[in-house]
């Protein structure tokens, strides 16, 4: 392998009581990339991230981050990483500059570098006009920029961003992602968790997590190319009867209504899917139009999590037990 791996973990597991939050996770994250965790709430994204930066002790498994063994060497790691929590974690009752100044001192930046770094960061994240403002009065987007500024002030090699854009408007999210790519360009590796599909698609590598299990791990483009379903768009005049008809059919893996259209994922087992749909639906709607379309990351996500949900419970409990003992 010619690319340096920043994070490597093997058989990483963590349980809270009887709940298996993370289940035998293997990860390998290359340097200078944005690696995304996509998954619903409770899929183990935050737990994994916290274990990787040493905030949580794994129930079992090995973790190596930046060549350090975690959690044993977690304190050494702290100097080299930046972390942005899901919830805004800076002090509401300090000004923007005071928060940054606190973080600079917390990372022991030398006096001269400190002022210079703070000035740099303020301009980079367009926070100059807000310098003296009380942090609690900032807008969601401004708070998020400040969090990123605070997390990168000490120039970390690795950034952990736990759902950094939840509750932030689309324009702020776009700007935020531009900043992330700039950081990667500077040599930073970023691990980001999200449940926004458009963000997931922008990552270099993407792991889809579901109930603590990694169900996919590839570049978004490859994931889309390798999707195990045919995707069709169906237009017609009477959507509801079409939906009812499709619902009876086990080969239809998923469908989603978009206004007057349906997006349908069909099992690859069917040899000629367009004809199949035509035969199935033509008797219901005369003005039917069926077009094959390219899959999206959302389709990939649906497929990946679908597989897991339909797994028989017995099999699931076997894997859970194995990780415990």
């Amino acid at each position: 392998m010619n690319v340096e791996q920043v994070i490597q973990c093997r058989q990483l597991s963590r349980s809270f009581g009887s709940l298996q939050a993370v289940d035998h996770l293997n990860l390998s994250i290359p340097k200078q990339s944005i690696y995304g965790f996509l998954g619903p709430n409770g899929s183990g994204k935050s737990t994994t991230m916290r274990m990787l930066c040493g905030l949580l002790t794994p129930s079992s498994g090995q973790v190596e981050v930046l060549g350090l063994e975690i959690p044993r060497q977690a304190e050494q790691l702290k100097h080299q990483i930046g972390y942005m929590a899901q919830k805004f974690a800076l002090y509401d009752d300090l000004t923007v500059t005071e928060n940054l100044s606190f973080m600079a001192k917390a990372y022991n930046l030398p006096g001269k570098t400190q002022a210079q770094r703070i000035a740099e960061t303020l301009s980079r994240y367009a926070l100059q006009p807000l310098q003296k403002q009380m942090t609690g009065t900032l807008s969601g987007g401004q708070k998020q920029r400040l969090s990123l500024a605070a997390a990168t002030l000490h120039k970390p090699k690795l950034l952990f961003l736990d759902e950094p854009t939840s509750g932030v408007d689309p324009q702020s999210r776009r700007d935020f992602w531009e900043s992330l790519f700039e950081l990667v360009n500077d040599g930073v590796t970023i691990l980001v968790s999200t449940h926004y599909m458009d963000e997931a698609e922008r990552c270099h590598g993407l792991a889809i997590l579901d109930h603590g299990v990694k169900v996919a791990d590839e570049s978004p483009a490859n994931l889309i190319a390798q999707i195990d379903a045919s995707v069709f768009q169906i237009e017609g005049t009477s959507i509801m009867p079409l939906k009812h008809q499709l619902a009876t059919c086990p080969e239809v893996l998923s469908m989603m209504q978009l206004g007057e259209r349906l997006r349908v994922l069909l099992s690859k087992k069917i040899a000629n899917p367009q004809d199949y749909l035509q035969r199935l639906l033509a008797p219901i709607d005369q003005s039917l139009r069926i077009t094959p379309i390219t899959a999206s990351i959302e389709d990939v996500f649906v497929m990946a999590t679908l597989h897991r949900q339909s797994m028989p419970p017995a099999e699931k409990s076997v894997t859970t037990n194995a990780s415990h003992f």
Partner: protein, 365 residues
């Protein structure tokens, strides 16, 4: 290893936050001023003017003399006259009076008989302090006897050391320093870590290289400074308003106060690591406050407590501080004479700081 830069980061952050917290600033100065004025004037163990009702069935010159002698003692205040015992009992029951004076119809005859009491005091015994005061009344001489020379029957003569005027404030004010510091200091730090946890700041803090010790010390130091202000404020008010003497060394008073402040702060920190919410932390602070105030010797003399209670109170920092501060301030004792008490405080501080540091993990699990 403690990094001075990171310690400074935490210290400065606490000061910034404190500066904007008007309510807390108000409490820092308001609590000592209000409490010293309130308790300095209010707490008084010299009981005077106990409400008393009289049933004078004799209604003679001697009985009226007895009543005026009683009033002249300033211990009782006659609030009314009744005709029956039942009325006295009713007034005692409702709490209108604490003493009922019963002068029987044959008062004159009884006065002549030395083997029988001439009159009776009915006392509400629920408050031992009032009961004790009422008992003092029994030493009152018969009115007509006061003209005669009587043989001296005193076994002891008492000389009051250190507080010749027997003013309660002299005892109360130094004690209040300890009580006020306990109240403010424990509360300040008991909520400090929990608040960070509740507001989500802790997840950020534990991801920085700031160590547990740096965090603990950085949170304690600003309050030590505040404690010094409070001690100065109370001492100044005590000397100016209540004329409390400072017999011992002022420097030693401050040394003792500093150790005591630190002990309370570390105790608060320990609570903060144990509590999940600010409310729980406050409950723990109150849990320690009440026994401190009641059992430390601030309110009641230590000597009256059962041995087991005395052992328990030895664990409270306020107990040792009360002995130190009264010793140095009122009796002019030197610190070297009271060294075991100071060592006890230092020991308490070190143990709680160690426990708090041990309890606080830079982990979420």
């Amino acid at each position: 290893m403690i990094s001075f830069g990171r310690l400074w980061a935490v210290f400065r952050k606490e000061v910034w936050q404190l500066k904007r917290d008007r309510m807390t600033i108000g409490m820092i100065f308001g609590i000592p001023i209000i409490q010293i004025l309130l308790f300095g004037y209010a707490i008084n163990t010299d009981i005077r003017w106990i409400p008393t009702v009289v049933m004078d069935s004799a209604s003679t010159q001697s009985s009226r003399n007895l009543i005026s002698d009683l009033e002249a003692s300033q211990v009782v205040k006659i609030t009314g006259y009744v005709q029956t015992i039942n009325e006295i009992e009713a007034q005692l029951r409702t709490g209108k009076v604490s003493i009922g004076l019963v002068i029987p119809a044959d008062f004159e005859r009884r006065l002549q008989q030395n083997d029988r009491a001439a009159a009776q005091l009915l006392v509400d015994g629920t408050d031992p302090i009032i009961l004790a005061s009422a008992r003092q009344l029994t030493s009152l001489q018969r009115h007509q006897d006061t003209q005669k020379t009587q043989p001296s029957s005193t076994l002891f003569s008492v000389r009051h050391y250190y507080n010749p005027e027997r003013r309660s404030a002299v005892n109360t004010i130094p004690g209040l320093i300890g009580v006020i510091l306990t109240m403010t200091m424990v509360i300040f730090t008991s909520i400090s870590l929990v608040r960070e946890r509740e507001k989500g700041n802790l997840e950020l803090l534990i991801n920085t290289p700031i160590t547990s010790n740096e965090l603990m010390l950085g949170k304690i130091l600003p309050y030590i400074v505040i404690g010094f202000f409070q001690v100065t404020l109370i001492l100044a008010l005590g000397v100016w308003i209540f004329n409390v003497p400072i017999v011992g060394s002022l420097a030693e008073i401050y040394i003792v106060a500093m150790v005591f402040i630190a002990a309370n702060l570390t105790l608060g920190l320990l609570f903060s690591t144990l509590a999940k919410t600010q409310l729980q932390a406050l409950q723990m602070a109150i849990f320690i406050m009440l026994p401190s105030i009641l059992l430390s010797g601030f309110m009641f003399p230590f000597s009256g407590m059962p041995v087991v209670a005395q052992w328990i109170t030895e664990l409270l920092p306020l107990t040792h501080f009360e002995r130190l501060i009264r010793g140095i301030m009122l009796r002019g004792a030197s610190l070297s004479e009271l060294l075991p008490e100071l060592l006890a405080l230092i020991g308490f501080m070190l143990v709680t700081l160690w426990l708090a540091s041990k309890r606080f993990h830079k982990r979420l699990d």
